[in-house]
Symmetry: C2
Subunit: 289 residues, 2 copies
């Protein structure tokens, strides 16, 4: 971290365009984030995604959690990035591995990514800036909701377009490193067992935990395009029964907590000049968002 990376907190530049892009500014000093990627056996998708991280600003390092008892093949062409890529082999395929507080993670800010998620750099930087102002919340991209079924007298999980949301998928979100510790060591072991049995719901569990601790909702950040992985051949999320399983998790977790800690919110975070018509010669805050 060069000293030139520091910037006076009460700064005189940074109103828009280049000055804003050149420095992270705001009320917090310079910092970086770690990307943690969970992957199983999709080498091509993983390496394609990693290549996309080349020269991503504020990136400290990448930690790939190899969630497969079979170790990575020698044929994988690991891309050469501007930061180190660490591969951590897990002993068993458990989604709880995503949230293990590995020593190799050196930053407070973590960007959790599924291996099939491709975000633009400006989307990531906007998300990082928003997280810096909301360090205790899950700040990320795909929003989901929990709703009450009168007919079944139980909660159900909803991924449809909605004006309210109470969860952000941890497959594409910033969280504070502290929550890895809380998930692994402080959260009820029953919840980790359910995640392991179902091979699902680790993100719902993290949303429960963070809202339980903070009594705050998560915060969604704009993405330029809708969130669809077009390259993916297989995905955890396409299997039949995915949605009913996730609804079941919500109801099980609620019984464990004794109440439903999830909190709705009715807005999202956009960059200040998003979709604003600017006078000629002025620049936006980000290219597309």
């Amino acid at each position: 971290m060069k000293s030139s990376n520091y910037r006076p907190i009460n700064h005189s530049v940074g109103t828009a365009g280049k000055e804003f892009a050149a420095d992270i500014g705001g009320m917090y000093p310079y910092e970086q984030f770690t990307i943690v990627v969970l992957t199983y056996d999709r080498d091509n998708i993983l390496t394609l995604m990693l290549e996309g991280l080349l020269n991503l600003a504020y990136l400290h390092s990448v930690v790939v959690i190899w969630n497969n008892p079979k170790p990575p093949s020698d044929n994988i062409l690991w891309p050469r990035l501007h930061v180190p890529i660490h591969v951590v082999k897990s002993e068993k395929n458990s989604l709880n591995n995503r949230f293990l507080p590995y020593d190799i993670i050196k930053t407070e800010a973590i960007l959790m990514l599924d291996d099939d998620v491709t975000l633009r750099h400006d989307e990531i930087i906007l998300g990082f800036r928003v997280w810096r102002e909301n360090r205790d919340r899950i700040v990320g991209f795909p929003a989901r909701g929990h709703f009450w079924s009168e007919a079944n007298q139980s909660w159900y999980y909803n991924s449809a377009h909605s004006c309210e949301y109470s969860m952000i998928l941890t497959g594409a979100s910033f969280i504070h490193r502290y929550y890895l510790h809380a998930y692994t060591n402080e959260m009820s072991a029953q919840i980790r067992e359910i995640v392991e049995q179902k091979l699902n719901c680790e993100d719902i569990a993290m949303n429960f935990l963070v809202s339980h601790i903070t009594r705050k909702s998560p915060l969604k950040v704009t993405t330029h395009w809708s969130f669809i992985c077009t390259n993916c051949t297989s995905s955890l999320y396409n299997g039949g029964g995915h949605m009913p399983i996730r609804s079941e998790c919500i109801n099980q977790f609620e019984r464990i907590y004794g109440y439903n800690p999830l909190i709705y919110t009715q807005y999202r975070a956009d960059s200040v000049l998003f979709k604003t018509r600017l006078p000629l010669g002025m620049e936006k805050c980000f290219r597309y968002v």
Copy 2:
């Protein structure tokens, strides 16, 4: 307030479109807001603006602060709204009158408006929803910044398009009723004197006060169009010397507080589905925002 206006907080409807529009929902129970309008002598602009409030949802009442020693003319055609309009005559023309904690204000939520501000109903309702999740902050529309001049070694006020902001003009923003009390009774009397002398800077003073109390930034909400009053013949904001006076206020207030309490933020609040392409048949959260 009819009992049918209440809604279970953990609700089963409200994902998007009509259901969302029909009820305010979220994690807070039903409530209303009061509009407080400061006016001096622009009867036509005032009545036009008041007419625009007809059938505005969640509106409890309107309080017009008649900031002119000359009382309102008998010829004013007060519009007939769905809620009462109360006119409060002030004894002298002071911008501190905007923040007097009048007994007639019965709600926690106050929408402060200049008489020349025309907001769409959906913009107002979005702002109200965002305020309900940020009850301790100034939540509103036109954002401004304070920046440091190396040359002059002092702060200057900036109203240009910026990717960061630290103030929201109270001519179009939601604030909690408590801050009227804090401004009038708890804030340094020196600041109210400066506001009175300069006939300016009451909004800067309120932003200082709220950020001093909360250590939080204000929060900007999307507007559909840029914020320009096309009907206005005269305005406080067009006079020469407006900007230097406001810069001077920032430096004076800083000396009174002993530090600069203003806090920058780098994002704004948009509705969850703003500028999102929806599947056929689905509705947005609001018509334009």
